[in-house]
Assembly symmetry: C2
Homo-oligomer: 230 residues x 2
DNA sequence: TCAAAAGTGTTCTGTTTACACCCATGG
DNA sequence: CCATGGGTGTAAACAGAACACTTTTGA
């Protein structure tokens, strides 16, 4: 049994809230749920939950994500801790924001909350409870930064994807148009993709080649700490 | 009185720990204290304290810093939240790390802990309690990144400083030698310094010109979100 | 007069940007 | 046969890196 040295100190509730980004092949989306308990019942919210005594925050975020959506083995990263005294109208709660990246198409959703969950275009986020809009803004800024230092695509794209989809993903994240030739040249210089002998025929008559990430080259690049200035 | 909606949830102690960087004109330093209470009494540690019910984390970090060192109006930024179940041998505690930047020479130290505090060269950090070494590593990485996007110097340098000192600061942060001419050219291109009609005579016979930051130009640059690639 | 630090520009190289036409195919 | 999206290279502008000599002056 652990000794309790700090008995006179205040304790607080610690929550985790997850900003879940997804890519559907066209646009960057954010998963939100209609909150089904008080306070602020029936308003749009990030998914969240409380830290338990026997887990750390990374584990809590993964547990919450799995419980509410069925998603597991998802890229999760801690973002920031929000602590204004009255941020949660229910009770003094400090919340640690995490963001998650997933490929919408190839994940199974089967969580208990899924009947009340919805993907929103990141450019059309509704009013959320508490300080959740602030958390989302923070997550988008972080994702933009990440997109320049790590090839985020791995987490957000399906196993096989077209160059167009990769470009659309970066355009969604950075919220600006990119030049097709410069983008392709840049990606090819990076040398982390494997071009498959297979085409996606759904978007054009000519068809466009599918690629996948070369896991080995890719993780070497990440270790070297590459920069991906687009 | 606030209603308590979440009564069945576990509560935890929330600590703040401060990684305090200072610059003495030559080298980047880190302020550590000898812990004067159990557990881990007499080991080197970051300064820290517990969040109180009536304050947010930024306020707690500022309060702790002021109480233990007398320092106020210091640049403080939240870094990361550490939550491993057994990270603190005293009791389950989650800790939010903050880092602070100060100019050693022009701050008054008068805190209760100052008899047990010491500045360490960032390249010679001793073994610290708990996960504090990990926090320091995280802070150094963050400081390196910040140094490329914001002119950190403002916080770490005295009001008047030489170009040499500015360069030494960047060399300490980035832990590499920089080319004097390139550095000077780069800083001049940025156009955020004001050259004074005054020389520092302590380091050479010729003397070297003193500069100060032009607050207006400087904060405009920060707003524009400049990049400071050295 | 000389040792020690301050100050100052140019060239080279690599990276980023801008830009337009042909290709393949299904309908 | 043509409309639609796919695929490709080059030149100009810019930013980063390398590099060495002169100046000042106190001791």
């Amino acid at each position: 049994m652990m000794l309790h040295y700090y008995e006179k100190e205040d304790q607080v509730l610690l929550a985790v809230d997850c900003i879940i980004f997804g890519f559907d092949g066209k646009k960057l989306k954010l998963l939100l749920v209609k909150r089904n308990f008080e306070p602020e019942k029936d308003k749009w919210s990030l998914i969240g939950g409380f830290l338990k005594k026997n887990e750390n925050l990374d584990e809590a975020a993964a547990r919450v994500l799995k419980a509410l959506t069925g998603l597991k083995e998802v890229y999760l990263e801690q973002l920031h801790t929000y602590s204004n005294v009255n941020r949660d109208s229910g009770q003094r709660t400090v919340s640690v924001a995490y963001y998650a990246l997933i490929d919408i198409a190839s994940h199974q959703f089967e969580g208990i909350l899924l009947d009340t969950a919805k993907w929103f275009d990141v450019k059309l986020i509704p009013d959320l409870i508490f300080d959740h809009n602030q958390m989302v803004d923070g997550a988008i800024r972080r994702l933009r930064r990440r997109a320049q230092t790590k090839p985020i695509g791995f987490e957000l794209l399906p196993n096989k994807f077209t160059m167009k989809q990769l470009q659309l993903l970066y355009e969604s994240i950075l919220d600006k148009k990119l030049d097709k030739r410069n983008f392709t040249n840049k990606i090819n210089t990076l040398d982390v993709l494997e071009k498959l002998n297979e085409k996606d025929m759904t978007e054009s008559k000519k068809g466009s080649f599918l690629f996948k990430f070369d896991q080995i080259k890719y993780s070497n690049k990440v270790k070297e700490g590459f920069s991906f200035k687009i």
